[in-house]
């Protein structure tokens, strides 16, 4: 698969000139559409090729070399979308080397496969498992207080690391090539994930006793007015903790969340009917 001579490369690429910032930004921008044609056979393959298409078209003139490049990238591809531009940067630098005849096409295949798995593990672990739940929990504390700018704050805070990785990733990948793995290790992603997980628990500690609305008529009839406020808070806190504990036990036992919600609704209606909750 190594081109025998450099005649398959566009004349402007033959001397190995690097792609400019505009092209890299263009690829990063196109990576936003990575999953538009997500499919069961190649998953994100069409999106990946679509993002790289302008660079490949510039690298290879129309003909067998371009067709081979397209076919190379129509193979299976799946990774974390926010880290996809990083993989694209690495692949682009390797494509340049392939076009100059320095490496074999197999190297691109193997590197891409290894990198997409690593990026999926790091990206999914950080963004889906830690960052999104944390930002959502923080936003919920505001939303429960009827703070109307909550959606905007959520979007701004959530997208700061997203856009940073999306646009820096393409440059890191392109400039560092396969050394980008060393860079990923310096981020201390595991420690960041742990910190975010603990912070989410702290926010939950605030949310649970304050935002599950549980009111019973017994306090009104049995408690003197001066103790009513503390009584209400205690019932709310303890009742909410018990409810959350029950629901969490169901969740851990792999009961579907919608089934848990349904059971809770039935329980709420029964307790309301008996006059225990108002």
């Amino acid at each position: 698969m190594v081109p025998s001579d450099t005649s398959t490369i566009s004349p402007e690429r033959r001397n190995g000139t690097a792609f400019g910032r505009f092209m890299l930004f263009r690829i990063a921008f196109r990576s936003f559409f990575l999953q538009a044609s997500w499919n069961y056979r190649g998953m994100m393959n069409m999106g990946f090729l679509y993002a790289l298409q302008p660079a490949l078209d510039e690298l290879y003139p129309a003909g067998p070399a371009r067709k081979a490049a397209y076919e190379r990238h129509l193979e299976y591809f799946n990774t974390n979308p926010y880290f996809s531009s990083l993989v694209m940067g690495v692949v682009l630098s390797l494509e340049e080397r392939l076009a100059r005849g320095e490496i074999d096409a197999e190297i691109i295949h193997d590197t891409k496969e290894g990198l997409m798995t690593a990026c999926a593990a790091v990206g999914d672990g950080f963004f889906w498992d830690s960052w999104r739940p944390f930002v959502a929990a923080a936003a919920l504390t505001l939303a429960f207080g009827n703070f109307l700018l909550t959606p905007i704050l959520f979007l701004v805070v959530y997208n700061m690391p997203h856009l940073y990785f999306r646009f820096r990733g393409i440059f890191w990948g392109y400039q560092l090539g396969t050394d980008v793995i060393k860079l990923l290790k310096t981020f201390n992603i595991q420690r960041a994930r742990l910190a975010l997980r603990y912070a989410t628990i702290a926010l939950l500690c605030y949310l649970v006793p304050n935002h599950v609305n549980l009111h019973t008529p017994f306090l009104l009839s049995n408690l003197p007015l001066e103790y009513f406020y503390i009584g209400e808070k205690l019932v709310q806190g303890i009742g909410a903790a018990l409810l959350v504990g029950l629901a969490a036990a169901g969740y851990r036992a792999k009961v579907d969340v919608l089934m848990i919600s349904f059971l809770l609704m039935v329980m709420a209606l029964v307790l309301y009917h008996w006059g225990i909750l108002i």
Binding site: F32, A36, S37, W38, N39, Y40, R41, G42, M46, A62, G63, R66, E71, L74, D124, D129, R132, P133, A136, L140, A143, F144, L148, T150, P151, F154, L155, Y158, H162, R191, L194, A195, R197, Y198, A199, T200, I201, L204, C205, L207, V208, P209, N210, H211, V212, Q236, G237, I238, A240, L243, A247, A248, V257, L258, L264, M265, L269, L271, L277, I278
Partner: protein
């Protein structure tokens, strides 16, 4: 009125299409998260009838509950979760459009709660439609691959990829339009048919529903017994303390800094 309703349904179709594109197909800015999608829908619908604040507040209330219910759901690899984006848009649309004709607070709240429950079921239907779109995309991928193999037809790629995005938009647009167009009147009639006692029961449900989301978040975050003990102690502390959002944020910030700085990343 029919023209109003048509305009509202078209608007909801458009919002649904754009929001659903964000959930997997494009951008992934998280506009599709219920806490954003629902208030956005409320704001646009409210603007249509000059009640922006009311629409936004309703969106925020519904978005908060749906965000909690589906906080763990993500489209990872082959997994297709319930369509939380469409559920958010539709629950606000149905709740707002059907509820604005009621005079009492209780009736409006019940209408919103019923809309929320209906939208959860619609979210499950949305999941089935998403799977259908993925199957259509798989056919499209075969077509693009065949074109490129056979004739170096590089134009097939952008065409196929764009059509994939259009499938997603079209599905969401039509789904939201049809449900809004047909669903408002039946919801209004159902709410009218409920007695006062049943109505207030629905409000009790609304108050308890967040506990499911909190449980899911706790299930995701708490990994061992020690963390569970910290969690229970934290709840006890915040039960006694006055309800102050800043205390929660301060605790979270301190924990982030301390954990990140500690060498082994433990408390």
């Amino acid at each position: 009125m029919p023209n109003d309703h048509l305009t509202s349904s078209l608007l909801i179709g458009l919002i649904g299409g754009v929001v659903d594109l964000d959930s997997t197909a494009t951008w992934q800015f998280m506009i599709s998260q219920p806490i954003v999608a629902a208030p956005l829908t409320g704001l646009f619908l409210g603007a249509l009838v000059g009640q922006e604040a009311a629409g936004l507040k309703l969106g925020l209330m519904i978005g908060t509950i749906l965000q909690l219910l589906w906080i763990e759901q993500l489209p990872l690899g082959m997994n297709v979760p319930p369509d939380a984006a469409l559920a958010s848009v539709l629950s606000v649309a149905l709740g707002f459009l059907a509820g604005r004709d009621f005079d009492t607070y209780v009736e409006r709240e019940v209408c919103n709660t019923v809309a929320l429950l209906v939208a959860v079921a619609l979210g499950l239907l949305g999941r089935a439609l998403d799977r259908g779109i993925r199957r259509l995309n798989t056919r499209m991928e075969s077509w693009v691959t065949a074109r490129i193999h056979a004739s170096d037809a590089t134009w097939a790629l952008p065409v196929g990829h764009t059509v994939g995005g259009l499938y997603t938009f079209g599905k969401a647009f039509l789904f939201c339009f049809i449900v809004t167009w047909l669903g408002v009147e039946p919801l209004r009639a159902f709410t009218r048919s409920l007695s006062f006692g049943q109505n207030t029961g629905f409000i009790v449900i609304q108050g308890l529903l967040p506990s499911v989301g909190f449980a899911v978040l706790a299930g995701m975050c708490i990994k061992d017994r020690q963390e569970l003990r910290w969690f229970i102690a934290g709840i006890a502390l915040f039960t006694i303390l006055p309800a102050n959002i800043w205390a929660g944020w301060l605790a979270a910030a301190l924990i982030v800094v301390r954990t990140y700085r500690t060498e082994h990343g433990s408390l």
